[in-house]
């Protein structure tokens, strides 16, 4: 078994993995804990911790089937043809067996979002996120709306995510976007590790370039639709909604009409 520890925001993830390949995959994506990350988290006490045990050689290639979820008092089990994941009821202890890298990424997105939502500390959102003027700007849209186009057009601005944005709620209610360890392209880690969220943009491809404010309720509905969350429990669903509401209350949101070029940045301050 190989061990690897990562610290992101206010939490630590301990990976216990079966093969060197798995360890390399994790190490390329999750920032390794540095010595001064230590056991304490500034004034807010010890780091929250999760332990993931990951094994290889499970199942068969993904067949487009759904994730099956079963839960009882002690655990939640997620099953797909290419992975099986058993999490403790608080999501802090996980046994995961995967077929390949695609399965590993999907399972980790699934678990990570569930663990954050369970503690109301954040969530993962199907979106891309780019830094400009010291703020993180989130881009959401349906498949093909331009989330990855936006990141391609945004060079040399730092990219925090291109698929699964990692959003954390601070104790002061501040909304922070962490550099996402789970990406689709450009899988190397970005040069900015975290940034406060400046705004949410719903992408609409258009002949003109402009942005219009979106009401809080529309933003809530639009955001909830993009959270990585597989429903299985009403309490967890209510927590997911509560986290989204916190984010929406603190964050301006816009419909961004854009052409496939970088002029849209002129609309974003």
């Amino acid at each position: 078994m190989y061990l690897y520890q990562s610290v992101i925001g206010d939490h630590r993830i301990r990976f216990v993995v079966q093969t060197e390949h798995l360890k390399e995959w994790i190490a390329a994506r999750f920032p390794e804990e540095r010595q001064h990350d230590g056991a304490e988290n500034g004034e807010s006490g010890p780091l929250e911790e999760a332990v993931l045990t990951i094994k290889d050689f499970y199942g068969s290639m993904y067949d487009d089937g759904p994730v099956e979820i079963e839960s009882d008092e002690d655990s939640v089990t997620y099953t797909r043809t290419d992975y099986r994941m058993v999490a403790s009821a608080d999501y802090s202890r996980v046994e995961l067996a995967v077929f390949d890298d695609l399965a590993l990424k999907h399972a980790l997105i699934n678990w990570y979002s569930a663990w954050l939502i369970h503690r109301r500390k954040g969530l993962l959102i199907h979106s891309s996120c780019v830094v400009e003027n010291g703020k993180a700007w989130l881009f959401v849209g349906h498949s093909g709306a331009g989330k990855s186009t936006v990141t391609e057009l945004s060079a040399p601005r730092p990219i925090l995510s291109d698929e699964a944005t990692l959003l954390l709620l601070g104790p002061d209610g501040k909304v922070t976007i962490q550099d996402s360890p789970l990406r689709s392209e450009n899988e190397e880690r970005g040069e900015v590790s975290a940034c406060e969220l400046g705004g949410i943009h719903f992408l609409i491809q258009s002949a003109d370039v402009r942005r219009d404010p979106v009401s809080k309720v529309e933003t809530l509905v639009g955001l909830m639709d993009k959270v990585f969350y597989w429903k299985h429990n009403k309490l967890e669903t209510a927590k997911m909604i509560a986290v989204c509401r916190e984010v929406v209350q603190r964050t301006p949101a816009y419909n961004l009409y854009f052409q496939k070029n970088d002029t849209f940045w002129g609309q974003i301050s």
Binding site: K216, V217, K231, T237, I241
Partner: protein, 92 residues
């Protein structure tokens, strides 16, 4: 007086409500359906807990807003009928 007027209305269990900038959403935790209502709709949803009939809702709102009772009753009934249609409220 209509058929619904004195029937006991029951709000569906497991509905999460959120009020943001004067708009409300009613979120069904079972089906994940989302219903948007305006401020008055959110107010009626809240009132329904203690005023579970159209008559009681009408009395309360007509008094509070000093409005015509017949008009209020027609509006409340139309709104409640819509809530019943989308499955957020049941009646006996």
């Amino acid at each position: 007086m209509t058929v619904l007027a004195n029937q006991l209305l029951q709000r569906q269990e497991f509905i999460e409500t959120a009020e943001l900038d004067g708009e409300w959403v009613l979120l069904d935790l079972d089906s994940h359906s989302i219903t948007k209502v305006n401020e008055m709709g959110g107010y009626i949803w809240e009132l329904m807990e203690n005023c579970p009939t159209i008559s009681q809702l009408t009395d309360r709102i007509a008094a509070e807003f000093n409005a015509d009772r017949l008009q209020v009753e027609a509006d409340v009934e139309a709104f409640v009928a819509e809530l019943i249609r989308v499955g957020l409220v049941t009646h006996d």
